[in-house]
């Protein structure tokens, strides 16, 4: 793309948004230029904060005319560098499009601008006596536009699916500059290609999500949170199987003792004194008065099998919250260690064999590095984090990991898994996309991008 001077950029774009909505001070450039990844130095040209779909459309128009690359930016909690601007791109941040619109109590849908914070929608749903069930540790910072563009998953996928399941309608501005109103909130709509689903998980490479009609659902009954001490991965997968057979689980998460120690270093208490290599966290809805009895029965059975050594159950909301913190606090607790993050998935049925092989390769490949396991086991999703040794430069560390991690990806490929279960591809996973998508498939993806974004202005260099 032709390189324009900062002054030229300002002349082209600053008039397209309200006064005060075009930022180019160094502090803002640094903040808006990056997400949760640390491998890239932020270097955007400008930040634009549009307040309407029309303003977004005008920005896309000007970018096409002048050949300027745009980076859509949400809450910047992404973990794959999707919202990183390191090549003088113009950042278009949806922060000011943060209004909740019409709520329809019959359809149980609410219209949200793309910049609505996930937690804002959750709170709104609660006020209506309903629930927006997609949830994760970054929900108080991430935006719906970002959630939709990464098809965010989280801690309740086993019960409620990913973000995709909750998008009833979507309004987008394509890379070409057209406004499309997709699916219009319909439950059934058999009229050909569902373009809505192309934009879900597209990481801003096809256009901007500007508005979404989000589906809400009934509040579940009261639930209990269990944390169980588990001796090894085989026991863990057996446990998942046993509990899945007995209950329609709300969550089945796991973490290693190392992960737990990082969380505890920042506060909180151990669930029990017995130290086990792994822990499972389950949330179970009390569908009847018998549920507690049934939980105890299953516990007794898995205990006899030796799959569990210890276990506790929450007695109150505070305790449920404190137990969840042990799992949800992990990502933040290791952030200062600049982890190399793996976000792998396989079909649940393949987990036992997959984990066994993976564990073996990780031990062999990263003999001197600290590895932290946790994740959404119930969805076949493992977060394997490699922590940077203190004495290694970040660059060297990432290079080593990228090299060594090949063996990890080869196993993912062998088991027909994904190199990015829920964090997206962005910059981080782009070199490894081929382990999950075939060359032909990637070619089709590129062709699709060209249809919506013929000049390649939308988030270039990311995903495909």
């Amino acid at each position: 793309m032709p390189s324009l001077s900062q002054q030229q950029m300002l002349e082209i774009f600053s008039g397209l948004v309200a006064v005060g909505s075009c930022l180019d001070d160094s502090e803002s450039l640094k903040t808006y230029g990056k997400d949760w990844t640390t491998a890239w130095e932020p270097c955007p040209a400008l930040i634009l904060l549009p307040a309407s779909t029309e303003e977004v459309q005008a920005i896309v128009g000007a970018a096409n005319e002048h050949g300027v690359a745009l980076v859509p930016s949400g809450g910047r909690t992404g973990l794959s560098g999707g919202a990183v601007a390191a090549k003088s791109e113009v950042i278009v941040a949806l922060d000011r499009m943060n209004q909740l619109g019409e709520f329809d109590p019959v359809d149980r849908t609410v219209v949200c601008q793309a910049g609505v914070i996930t937690g804002q929608l959750q709170a709104f749903a609660q006020d209506q006596g309903l629930v927006y069930p997609v949830d994760f540790a970054s929900a108080d910072s991430s935006q719906l536009g970002g959630n939709i563009s990464t098809n965010a998953g989280g801690v309740k996928v086993i019960r409620y699916g990913t973000t995709r399941q909750w998008v009833a309608g979507l309004k987008v501005v394509t890379g070409k500059g057209d406004i499309l109103d997709l699916n219009k909130g319909l439950v059934k709509n058999a009229t050909g290609y569902d373009l809505r689903h192309l934009f879900i998980g597209a990481e801003g490479t096809l256009g901007f999500v500007v508005e979404a009609t989000m589906q809400l659902t009934s509040t579940p009954k009261a639930s209990s949170v269990l944390v169980l001490g588990v001796p090894d991965f085989l026991a863990m997968t057996n446990l998942l199987d046993a509990f899945r057979k007995a209950f329609d689980l709300m969550a089945f998460e796991f973490f290693s003792d190392r992960a737990l120690n990082y969380v505890l270093a920042r506060g909180g208490t151990r669930p029990f004194e017995t130290v086990t290599p792994l822990y499972a966290l389950l949330e179970i809805e009390h569908v009847s008065e018998k549920t507690l009895e049934e939980i105890l029965e299953v516990f007794e059975r898995v205990k006899l099998q030796g799959w569990v050594e210890e276990g506790v159950m929450s007695q109150s909301q505070e305790q449920a919250h404190a137990l969840w913190q042990l799992r949800e606090g992990i990502s933040e607790s290791i952030a200062s260690k600049m982890p190399y993050k793996n976000d792998l998935s396989v079909r649940v049925s393949k987990l036992p064999a997959f984990i066994e092989e993976l564990d073996e390769v990780v031990r062999r490949s990263y003999p001197d590095m600290e590895t932290i396991w946790y994740g959404h086991l119930g969805d076949g999703n493992l977060h394997l984090n490699i922590l940077k040794p203190e004495d290694q430069s970040q660059e060297h560390f990432f290079q080593t990991c990228n090299e060594v991690n090949r063996h990890v990806f080869e196993i993912v490929e062998k088991y027909g898994g994904s190199v990015s279960a829920e964090h997206g591809v962005g910059l981080l996973k782009k070199p490894h996309l081929n382990y999950t998508r075939s060359a032909t498939e990637i070619e089709y993806m590129k062709s699709l991008k060209a249809v919506f974004d013929p000049n390649g202005i939308m988030n270039p260099g990311k995903l495909v």
């Binding site: 509040t219 209990s224 008065e289 210890e310 506790v312 007695q315 137990l323």
Partner: protein, 257 residues
Amino acid sequence: MKILVYLKQVPHQDARLDISSDGTWIEESNIKFEINSYDTYALEEALKAKDSEGAEVVVVTAGQDRVTQALRTALGMGADRAIHIKDEAVDASDVLGVAKVLAAVAKEESPDLILTGLMSEDSGFAAIGPMIGEFAGIASTTAVVGIEREGGKLTVERELEGGNLEVVEINTPCLVSVQTGINQVRYASLKGIMQAKKKTIDVKTAADLGVGDAISPKLTTEKVSVPVKGETAELVEGSTDEIAAKLAAKIKELGLL
């Protein structure tokens, strides 16, 4: 030392509550019940004393069959035995009647210390503690946020309005009702709950305790209802500046400044 802990089973904080068909209480079928959170702090205080200096912890509750779950959980957390007052007349009584029955247990057990929560989360009378103390003929104090024991005397901190604390000395035996946050309540161990099956739960009626005649209710619930949503909210809309100006005008108009 023997410590008696009174606890009540109440609907889970998250439970969806519907009014029962006769309009005098909530629909209890199919909701999850748990130990009243104030009482879990009382239980923890007792278990802490047991851990540090040894004590027999006896938990007591009144209610239908479902309350055995609360007792089993408490036993699983470390209580030694449990007393379940199972008597429809007690369930149909009022706070005064229940207090008489619970006090009769205290007289039978003669504990050194009675702990309970400041109030229940469902009916919220905050009265049963002092009533039990009175009927059992022992001193009581409420809203306690710190307990120190030395010999036959407790020094307790009570929470007052505005963040103030009152320090009270009280001789044992006595009854102390505790405020939430006084300690960190331990989790219920699943292994513990399983093993608690072996511990005893004594089932008694008001008549067994000699108070069968004294509990006819003096208080009946007329009606339980959901507050009607007000229609009087006025939404101020516009840009930040416009909203600020409209708010200022409204404040002046209402003569609030």
